[in-house]
Amino acid sequence: MSPRWLPAGWELARIRLLFAAMFVGILVVELALWNLQVARGREFQQDLARQSVRRVRIPGPRGRIFDCRGRPLADNRLSFSIALYLEELRPRSRKGSLLNEVQRTLDEVAAIIGQPPGVTSNDIIAHIRRRLPLPLVAWRDVSEAAVAKWAEMAIRIPGVDLYPEPVRVYPNGHVACHVLGYTRRAELQDVPEEPYHYYLADVEGASGVEKTFDYLLRGQAGVRLVRVNAAGYRYEDVDATEPAPGYDVQLTLDLNLQRAAESALDGVQGAIVVLDPSDGSVLAMASRPAFDPNVFVPAPSLEQWNALCKDPSLPLVNRAVAGAYPPGSTFKPVVAIAALLSRSIGPNTEFSCPGYLTLGNARFRCWDNLGHGTLDMRRAIRFSCNVYFYHVGLELGPQAIAATARAAGLGSKTGIDLEHEVAGFVPDPSWKRRTLRDVWRDGDTCNFAIGQGFLTATPIQMAVVASMFANGGRRVTPHLLKASRAPGAEEFVPVPAPAPQYVWPPSAVKVVQEGMRDVVMAPDGTGRRMFVQGYEFAGKTGTAEYGPKQEGRKRGWMIAFGPLPHPRWAAAMVVEDAVSGGITVAPRLQKFFAAALGAASTSEDRGL
């Protein structure tokens, strides 16, 4: 029995030393942990949040557009799209490919709803690469029948669901299409101070008031924070600022008048503008040919787009503001005002019309070869006598006519809230010398005085001219915005109309207005076909030749206002390829005013 073995002192010391070394090792780890978790913990927490959270921009729905009585012109409807939620389709095994899973699911759903998917495999690959945490929208805006089939059958398919989206709808189809315009998907914008990982594009106005009032209509984008896992799939939604809808917009348009204006243009190419002569509110504006803005929701097909763009009749062009035509005889009232303002010609100044005027070798003819005999201003307007106005023009000189025309707003844009407005053109001798390097001749003056030659005007400009004769010489600014309403608010806040300016003395206007009244009301007036039983209207027809002379193509015009003595409407209408203003345009305007009066009386009866 040996004595019990005991470790030597140095052995125990070395064990203690070893333990001390281990203690130091643990202390080092502890200090490193303190540094990592406590000293720098917040920094790591932020890093962690940053690496797993993606910002997704969600566009807000567009505001709606109403007519002046609150009837919808552009609305939003809920469209149902079928979307694949990829995080639920992620392959179970390492070998499985997400693309195959997606394709398989798409085929399955396609078989159920009987509609091929709207995405190609390239779209799917792009989506997986670039926006994996977002749902893949495979069918946009599916029909109700497909939704019903889906609801019956497909609830069992994992990772697929209906995805509601607000979509623009124009409930009245082509009515007021040129005013409303259309929308398109906005281009991606770089917003450097707010970087988004995923940017869902807004819908933006591409033309019409959708474009001019885009700043009101466009929704306020929201942000959704999506936590994604390491593989990039959506894990949960962390936080969101909800998108807010845009402002609602109320237009000055009156849907009843608009419909009447549209049907006045049935079967022809041309345009019509109806203003409230007291403040310049655009009550109706139509242009033909038209288009259906719903075609642009969400986007037109390539064929549709090409058809609209390549159509030689230019259906996308709003002729009411972008069509500049020689105004023809509708310009004569303006010349009459110029004459009255000059004081060298009074209302009773008479000229004789033998059917033509000889200037040097050239003979300027009246539209009536037989001549009108001796006329004063009122009768000259009633019969639209060219010779009378040749004399007036020669008496006044081109500068005076040009000045009066410009004062009425011709030759410059009216400032209507629509893009692509053209200014038309008011010629004068210095312009002709500068541009055509030619002197202004008396013949130019004669043409100018009857609204032919170099002069051009747009229907909206002529509607302003009509308004001036209706309201006693005040020049109004045509406008479309009546009121706007903030999202969630009950009431529309009116937008003040631009103030009209006094341009012409009411006494002068009164003289011309009487002549214009005769145009419609006298049984031999050139605009007698516009006569509406029981109401007094005034107007002026016009016919301007265009194109090669031998083709004899004419544009028919008419400006009109009424009912007198307190006109509520001032209209200008142009028809491309007309027989004449009096024959082609006057009956159409008659139809419009009759419909407008009917609609007005019925809505007044109903107390609207």
């Binding site: 470790p7 490193a32 990592l36 920094e43 927490q45």
Partner: protein
């Protein structure tokens, strides 16, 4: 050999160290809890905690069996055990299952075993017996040569798998045993310095993935989505735990898969713990390891003989090195080396090896007599 030193039957359990046993069992429990947390979001990993629970049961049984047998009897078989371990290592190199490019696994009747883990314990056993010979002159270079041979064979075999981390563990373990066996500090330092000087020479012999890991240690952002990923993400997980942690089952790094799911319950279990238990919880974990190591060296200092003393020292160092390297790589102090955290990480072979090692430690303690450390 007196009867007093042999305590036949289970009576010996009463002399076991309650501190060490409690610390070890607590670590086992913590491990299972966080393996559950780490696995709950991946179908393939969700039942790991149950498996670990059964491995833990086996490890406890193994531990008890070792305690009951007594370390003396096992030391007597150290040579045989060592030969078997080396043979199995050779077999692994020939017939092992290749996982992630390394032949570390042996398919043993349908159970995947990592023989290297058991080989480490066998090596420590033989080293303890050899260094405890009464005729040993610890200061003689021949001792060093013999030690180097005993440790070197498994070292090279494991290195060939290749499993650099597991092989490297043998170096500090052997050094610690030589140190306590009485080798001069100057000698040890000479070897250490020579070893460090030779390190660059080993560079060309490293596998490309090992080189990449070392490069990544110095610059994790060289390939943040590839080889740098684990380091970045595990630091991020631990760091974001903060003082108190996000709470058990509340960690997002693991949930969202930023911590690679296969390694989260194994080598990177501490990043889950760090994130969910925070600095406080991590410190408690360190405290448990400190208690475990303190009791292991206490066992050494009260060992009944020199072999027991050296055995306890070797096993304590084995546990410490695993712990230090594992935590060090998880929090970015060390390059990524695939070493598990003893008692906590998921893994059957290592858990059973650790259980056997703890059995030996408890046995050394139980057979020894109180002495002040």
């Amino acid at each position: 050999m007196s009867a007093a030193r042999h305590h036949p039957g289970w009576a010996v359990l009463r002399r076991c160290d309650p501190w060490m046993a409690s610390a070890a069992l607590t670590l086992l429990g913590v491990g299972i809890a966080f393996i559950y947390s780490a696995g709950r979001h991946a179908a393939t990993l969700s039942s790991l905690w149950l498996k670990q629970l059964s491995w833990a049961g086996l490890a406890v049984l193994g531990c008890l069996a070792v305690v009951r047998t007594g370390y003396h009897r096992i030391l007597r078989q150290a040579g045989a055990l060592y030969v078997i371990a080396v043979a199995v290592l050779v077999l692994t190199l020939i017939a092992g299952t290749r996982i992630n490019g390394a032949r570390c696994w042996l398919n043993f009747f349908g159970i995947q075993l990592q023989p290297s883990e058991l080989a480490k314990v066998a090596t420590v056993l033989l080293l303890a017996r050899e260094l405890a010979r009464p005729d040993l002159n610890a200061e003689h270079w021949s001792t060093l040569a013999r030690t180097a041979a005993i440790a070197g064979i498994p070292f090279v075999l494991i290195l060939l798998q290749p499993d650099l981390g597991t092989a490297m563990v043998l170096l500090p373990v052997t050094a610690a045993m030589l140190f306590v066996a009485g080798m001069r500090i100057r000698q040890l330092l000479t070897i250490g310095v020579a070893g460090i000087a030779l390190l660059p020479v080993t560079w060309p012999f490293l596998d490309s993935y090992q080189k990449e890991r070392i490069r990544v240690f110095f610059d994790p952002w060289r390939d943040p989505l590839g080889s740098g990923w684990n380091k970045i993400q595990s630091e991020l997980a631990v760091g974001s735990g903060g003082l108190w942690g996000k709470g058990w089952l509340r960690g997002t790094q693991n949930t969202l898969g930023y911590l690679p799911q296969p390694v989260a319950p194994t080598d990177f279990i501490f990043s889950v713990i760090g994130e969910e238990a925070g600095f406080i919880g991590s410190s408690l974990l360190l405290l448990l390891f400190l208690v475990l190591l303190w009791r292991a060296l206490e066992a050494a200092s009260r060992a009944a003989d020199r072999a027991g003393l050296l055995l306890a020292v070797g096993l304590a160092t084995l546990i410490f090195v695993h712990m230090f390297v594992n935590l060090g790589m998880t929090i970015g102090l060390l390059p990524i080396v695939g070493l598990p955290l003893p008692l906590v990480s998921y893994g059957g072979s290592f858990l059973i090896a650790t259980g056997l090692g703890l059995g030996l430690l408890l046995s050394v303690y139980a057979q020894g007599s109180p002495a002040t450390m």
